[in-house]
């Protein structure tokens, strides 16, 4: 109850600051849509030259991309930790966060969240809906339940990996470029992973499990049973990676000494 109240207060504060630059707020909406549209254009143009991609039809590939947008949008809403090093370590904001009685990670997440990114959920659902209607494919009640489980798992995987990476800043205030590298690896998960080489498939499954954010659960929700076991593993993998992320964060916080003078 206490956390929900805090969340609402943060949210109100957020709206006030965002609406100050109203033009930029809507520009953000527009560019998010544009960004999602660009990837769709790519898929559509590609399929005007071929009928299948390693056995996947146009509608299936679009469905996988649409599904990927949902966990990705939720992740971008709450784990907007890109400038954590700059803002919290170098400028010393973390010292303020640490003096307060709410868990430091929760505070940082609420201070940096961007709720307008949730628009991606709507786009993702629309894209999935469109491709399902093209394929005349209908979900059962169980599929809906799995969908929620998979999305939560996907967000947890993304979140866990990024929390762990952000925690590096707690040990050393020098800049690292691992986050953008990770962001680009994440892009591999939104296409059918069986078109990559074996090594990449292995990495995307067991080391940086981005395939669980997009491809594995999406292929199950499409009615393909080839990767069924992997799809069911999604929430478990999510739980493991998220726990590891939070543990590294807590360890980092104990280790943190501040960068200032």
């Amino acid at each position: 109850m206490f956390h929900i109240q805090i969340f609402i207060e943060y949210f109100k504060q957020y709206l006030k600051t965002r609406l100050e630059y109203r033009g930029d707020f809507f520009a953000q909406f527009a560019t998010d849509l544009l960004f999602q549209g660009v990837n769709l254009v790519f898929i559509l143009v590609v399929f005007s030259h071929t009928t299948n991609l390693h056995g996947w039809s146009r509608e299936e590939v679009i469905f996988i991309y649409g599904y990927f947008l949902v966990p990705y949008a939720i992740f971008s809403t709450f784990f907007n930790l890109w400038d954590f090093n700059e803002r919290y370590i170098i400028k010393g904001e973390l010292d303020r966060v640490l003096t307060r009685p709410v868990h430091s990670l929760v505070q940082v997440i609420m201070e940096t969240m961007t709720p307008e990114s949730l628009l991606g959920v709507v786009t993702g659902l629309a894209v999935m809906g469109w491709s399902m209607s093209q394929m005349d494919y209908v979900w059962t009640m169980m599929d809906v339940v799995f969908f929620f489980l998979f999305v939560v798992g996907g967000v947890a995987i993304y979140g866990g990996i990024y929390i762990a990476l952000t925690s590096i800043s707690l040990f050393s205030d020098s800049k690292t470029d691992i986050q953008p590298i990770m962001y680009n690896i994440g892009n591999y998960g939104r296409y059918p992973v069986n078109l990559y080489s074996r090594i990449i498939q292995f990495v995307l499954t067991w080391i940086l499990p981005f395939a669980f954010v997009g491809f594995y659960p999406a292929s199950f929700l499409l009615g393909s049973s080839d990767w069924k076991t992997f799809a069911f593993l999604t929430p478990i993998v999510g739980g493991i990676y998220f726990t590891i992320g939070v543990m590294i964060w807590n360890w980092g916080i104990r280790h943190y000494r501040g960068a200032g003078n």
Partner: protein, 265 residues
């Protein structure tokens, strides 16, 4: 005058050299992107030997060249100009005895040169070890036309960046616009999709836009996808765009100096 601009290139080059470690991660990122598109395109080819007039080998080379050239023409001039307008340093720049926009252009060139030598070259070596890429021989004339075209692409992209940056004079917070422009340039310049893969109607529209001159033209020249006549035409179009784009920049620049509002300070 020229000497001053040359030292601008040199200074930016040295500045980038001081932070060179940051660029090794860039090579990894670009290689990752080349990887995604390589596997995607090879899956698209399947067992086919030709698609849109390109062989799988040419396509692989196209992807690698496109990303490694992007390292050269890409810069943050839009963001830098917008930032200087927002924090007011542009006012100081305006009273200095040089042309502010030319200074920016040359700084961008110094940055591009740095990345070309310390990023694209080693990156290209790395990538050609992983993927089957075939480049023309050292003495082949296509290298000359490619360099010309690459320079043209750099100029056009820099001009578009300057235009977007200058809009900060009129729209006080233009970050969204900058991001949108970046996404559009990547899609429409031929970086991710060669222009001739688009449907006919879209190709018609794109041929009237400056974007295809940024990436598509130099790439097609280097992979040997064009005849001598087509190369000449592409270079001519680039030249025309470079001149045409000067007009809106000059217009915005004159109007901007009249209506300058420095936020705060």
């Amino acid at each position: 005058m020229l000497k001053m601009y040359l030292s601008l290139i040199r200074i930016r080059f040295l500045m980038m050299l001081a932070y060179r470690v940051n660029y090794y991660s860039g090579i990894v990122i670009y290689s990752l992107n080349i990887g995604v598109y390589y596997f995607l395109w090879m899956a698209i080819y399947g067992d086919g030997q030709s698609l849109g007039g390109l062989t799988p080998g040419q396509m692989a080379t196209y992807i690698a060249i496109a990303w490694m050239s992007r390292a050269f023409y890409f810069n943050n001039l839009d963001r830098e100009i917008a930032q200087e307008i927002r924090d007011g340093t542009v006012a100081i720049e305006l009273i200095r005895p040089y042309h502010y926009l030319m200074v920016k252009l040359f700084q961008g060139f110094g940055e591009g040169l740095f990345r070309l030598l310390l990023f694209s070259l080693p990156g290209m070596v790395l990538v050609s070890l992983i993927f089957p890429i075939s480049l023309p021989g050292m003495m082949d004339s296509s290298w000359f036309y490619f360099s010309l075209s690459l320079l043209g692409g750099f100029l056009i992209n820099a001009q578009l960046n300057i235009l977007t940056g200058l809009l900060a004079f009129f729209i006080l917070n233009n970050q969204g616009l900058i991001r949108a422009k970046r996404v559009l340039v990547d899609l429409l310049s031929g970086l991710t999709l060669p222009i001739h893969f688009y449907p006919e109607w879209a190709q018609g529209i794109l041929s009237f836009l400056p974007f295809q001159a940024i990436s598509y033209s130099p790439n097609m020249i280097l992979i040997g996808g064009w005849s001598g006549h087509e190369i000449g035409q592409a270079l001519l179009i680039q030249g025309i765009w470079v001149i045409l784009l000067c007009l809106p920049i000059q217009l915005l620049w004159t109007r901007a100096r009249k209506t300058l509002i420095v936020q705060g300070g």
